[in-house]
């Protein structure tokens, strides 16, 4: 996962800036542990089966049937991979939240191939501290 790698690379810098990082995904515990091990992640992954947390943020969406069929044809069974048959996914998003619980930065993308630069998130977090 390119994004997790990129965030991991900046991990020490995020920590120096006083920030905590956590990922949230509708994956099974086994899969999350495998990702953490394979990519040597220092941050945790919070499991969100069925995308309940994503839904609270307005990010959950249901895959259309024809797309679900495309993934199945590729050998990807979302219900099996994510351990739930809701066939929902979160729109990828990156948030920065202050100590009072107010959202200070939000990047939400319907197009999952577009992600904000971790370096920009770092700059934002550093600016919050000053």
């Amino acid at each position: 996962m390119a994004e997790l790698d990129a965030l991991q690379d900046l991990g020490p810098a995020f920590r120096d800036a006083g920030a905590e990082l956590i990922a949230i995904a509708p994956v099974t515990g086994e899969h999350a542990k495998a990702v953490i091990a394979k990519q040597s992640l220092d941050f945790d992954i919070l499991l969100d089966p069925g995308n309940v947390i994503a839904d609270a943020f307005g990010l959950r969406h249901r895959l259309p049937d024809d797309l679900a069929e495309v993934y199945r044809a590729f050998g990807i069974d979302l219900a099996q991979a994510n351990g739930d048959d809701s066939w929902t996914l979160p729109m990828p998003a990156r948030y920065v939240v202050d100590a009072g619980g107010t959202v200070r930065s939000a990047h939400v993308h319907a197009d999952y191939t577009r992600r904000p630069e971790p370096a920009d998130t770092l700059e934002f977090v550093r600016a919050m501290a000053s």
Binding site: M1, A2, E20, I45, I53, L59, P92, R104
Partner: protein, 83 residues
């Protein structure tokens, strides 16, 4: 040093070469429909209170949103999974 977006663009270009046109257009249409519905604009945004949540982490610990907040900023990243 390459940017994350440049890396993702490279992955997408390589993927496009391998995927036949039928499935590719289904994938593009799904993304376009999601964009057109404007759901991203209605998601939690700057100035909103972060919704409360809790769950279990990969390491098996119970995590609540209250535990995660402060003293410094909290960076949350939602991702879809490995595929």
């Amino acid at each position: 040093m390459s940017t994350l977006q440049a890396t993702l663009d490279g992955i997408r270009a390589a993927f496009s070469k391998k995927v036949p046109e039928g499935p590719a257009s289904i994938m593009h249409r799904a993304t376009q429909d999601l964009t057109d519905r404007g759901q991203a604009e209605r998601a939690i945004a700057v100035g909103d209170a972060m919704p409360a949540f809790e769950g279990v982490s990969a390491g098996g610990r119970t995590v609540t949103s209250a535990m995660l907040l402060g003293p410094g900023p909290l960076i949350l990243t939602f991702f879809r999974g490995h595929w």
